[in-house]
Symmetry: none
């Protein structure tokens, strides 16, 4: 089964608002094996919407359309459907009575304008809206089912559930799409893709086919695996084996096989090994501490963080010798090491992390350009320090610094 | 001028991701009087994309297409354009050399797969990408300009600016939509809306009409004013007077009249008053320090931050008396005050901020439920401490804590 999702509303064509209904709709459609092939957003414009319905009818199995069912002249979805299907609109007195009662229950009189919501293109079935005045509509033509749902998520959601269960599930073949998200850090997108490529072809032709999509986002790579299977159990088995193949191939650069963030992964490692961590940050400005403490329960293993922008703070709080800063510069591996040692010793934590670098845009030199970051990690059994050269703006350098520090810690804990 | 915005990428058809590039693109198009008539999202599927290009060519003035320009087989935008226009693809050696040099600057060898990014549909003009490997492309057919831009926002944004200035502005009629974003914190959306309502009607019927849209996002309210005018100058004059009316009406709860973030606003205040700040955080976990240091040049006024999750850290680093914690609890106004005092004194900063609270999901009690946060701000001339009750999940409590702390500081600095 193939679907289009159509969102109607001029506010969705402004710079302020994106359509998010389509996410929930996609999830529910995918789970019954219905693939979303296209998403379209149009304004309150009958002719635009008409051309979209025209294109979709006879081409996809279902079009789920949200919005444009309100009582005002801007609400043009009903009209567009009637025009495309060349059917008249009839007033459904039952709908109008229902809306009137809804107003009366709140002690209000129904405005006359709301009668518009009782207009139904001939041949359409009414979908109940338990949470609002605008009923939904369902109409079929040339093998395509068109569902019209209201835009507000709290009204749309229960109607979507009913639509799936009563109208779409019986049409679906039973097979559904199921997903796993793997996350990788410390490698380039093209490097990961080149190495994993041989697996993709094999998966696509497997009895339970799996499609892979690679996605590079700030400082990390996501690999989305989508299995198409009749049942969740079959899909999970196939996905599990695909994940294992990737792990065998790529090794520990995969830090998450269930979509979890890196801070959640290291939190789990620290908790299982009963280790505590404290961090000393310069260029990352507290972002590492903030990400570590984004994880619920992180107070169990996170003791403290020091954001030391000034050299004096590095000396006073972390005991970094001023001679070290004078001879190597504040951005250097010896200083990063001293910061990691200093914070661990002062906090009495098992693990200390030190980050010092140049986040930019100012402060770079020919020897140490913007993006130069030294990171040290000290665990009870090992110590590592590395210098990175990150690209991108200030926020990117901060993010990649925190990411790289957590990844160093993760790999050291896996080795330990 | 009419435009379509097309986003390409199978990840944008999953339940996990929405296209947000289209927001920035819409804003820039609107500013040159170009109306967005439709937004479309398609997967990495040549035939789907081909049908969209086919429909748009000769129908709209411009199609701005993002994504699908990477080096992998999934990246099909170039192929789709070549197929629609029935032109061959040529390898542009200049692009390949540029990509190779980019890799070499980072000490890496260009993977062979990246040569794909040098393939150019014949007749297309290359749009420089200063921040990534994928160049953009521009091609015209039947009065429609097709712009292909990469998907990552940091690469796309500067290329969009160049596209607008060099190719679209000369085609536009001149009249455009111009916007101002005001930001407000510490009030509810409906409160702000009710107070500002009388202005809206007046603005809409003014010679240069202004439309207002209110938008509530995490811990702050945005008020978007959109003026429709023939020139930027006329629009700016009308917007400036509307902003002043709002400021007269709402007072200092408006913290930004130019879209700047709160951290940038307090940075400006601190710099102009030559004051330094240090922060002591418990429940916000370093987020306040991280946001303050997101601002370029913040090292001029930010000295240090302490993330003290443990009571011991609060005592050792900030000198919070253990009796104070014992008698009032770690989450209390006296402890927040002692944290603010302690960090300012130890850092020798003019200003100290202390935050202590319960971010959740655990740790709440009937007297101090999750979301209870005490915040203290000490400046050279004043001291304030307040207790907030924030709603929402852990990340929301962290964000609102940092937001409230910065807003307290802002209001105190305005008063001083």
């Amino acid at each position: 089964m193939k679907a289009w999702i159509v969102a109607v509303g001029s506010e969705l064509l402004t710079p302020f608002r994106v359509d998010t209904n389509s996410l929930a709709i996609t999830e529910r459609l995918n789970a019954i094996g219905c693939e979303v092939r296209r998403k379209v957003v149009v304004g309150d414009d009958v002719s635009e919407l008409v051309t979209i319905f025209e294109r979709g009818i006879g081409h996809v199995d279902v079009m789920v359309c949200t919005g444009g069912l309100g009582p005002t002249e801007d609400d043009i979805t009903r009209d567009a459907v009637a025009r495309v299907l060349k059917v008249p609109m009839d007033l459904d007195q039952g709908i109008v009575d229902g809306i009137r009662q809804r107003f009366e229950r709140r002690g209000l009189t129904m405005p006359e304008i709301n009668r518009r919501q009782g207009m139904v293109p001939r041949g359409a079935t009414i979908l109940e809206n338990p949470r609002g005045t605008a009923p939904g509509l369902w109409i079929e033509r040339q093998g395509t089912g068109i569902a019209l749902l209201p835009g507000p998520p709290r009204e749309m959601t229960p109607m979507l559930e009913a639509l799936i269960a009563e109208r779409l599930l019986p049409r679906s073949g039973g097979a559904g799409l199921f997903r796993r998200v793997l996350k990788i850090t410390g490698r380039s997108e093209s490097d990961v893709d080149a190495r994993a490529q041989p697996l993709y072809g094999k998966w696509l032709t497997a009895p339970i086919p799996i499609a892979a999509t690679i996605l590079a986002v700030m400082g990390q790579i996501e690999l989305h695996l989508t299995a198409s299977a009749a049942t969740r159990k079959e899909a999970e088995t196939a996905l599990e084996s695909a994940v294992r193949e990737l792990q065998d191939l790529l090794g520990p650069i995969i830090y998450s096989i269930d979509g979890r963030a890196l801070e959640a992964v290291i939190g789990e490692l620290l908790r299982s090994k009963r280790l505590t961590v404290s961090v000393a940050e310069s260029c990352s400005g507290g972002l590492l501490a903030s990400r570590i403490t984004d994880v619920p329960g992180s107070s169990d293993y996170f003791d403290r963080g020091a954001v030391c922008y000034s050299n004096r703070a590095k000396e006073e709080w972390l005991g970094v010798p001023s001679e070290l800063i004078a001879s190597h510069g504040a951005v250097s591996e010896p200083v990063a090491s001293a910061m990691a040692e200093g914070i661990a010793d002062r906090a009495g934590s098992a693990i200390g992390i030190g980050i010092t670098g140049i986040a930019g845009p100012g402060g770079g030199t020919p020897e140490k350009p913007v993006g130069t970051v030294a990171i040290a990690v000290r665990t009870p059994t090992a110590k590592q320090v590395r210098t990175f050269q990150f690209l991108g703006a200030r926020d990117m350098v901060k993010f990649q610094s925190a990411q790289a520090a957590m990844n160093m810690l993760r790999l050291m804990l896996l080795d330990a």
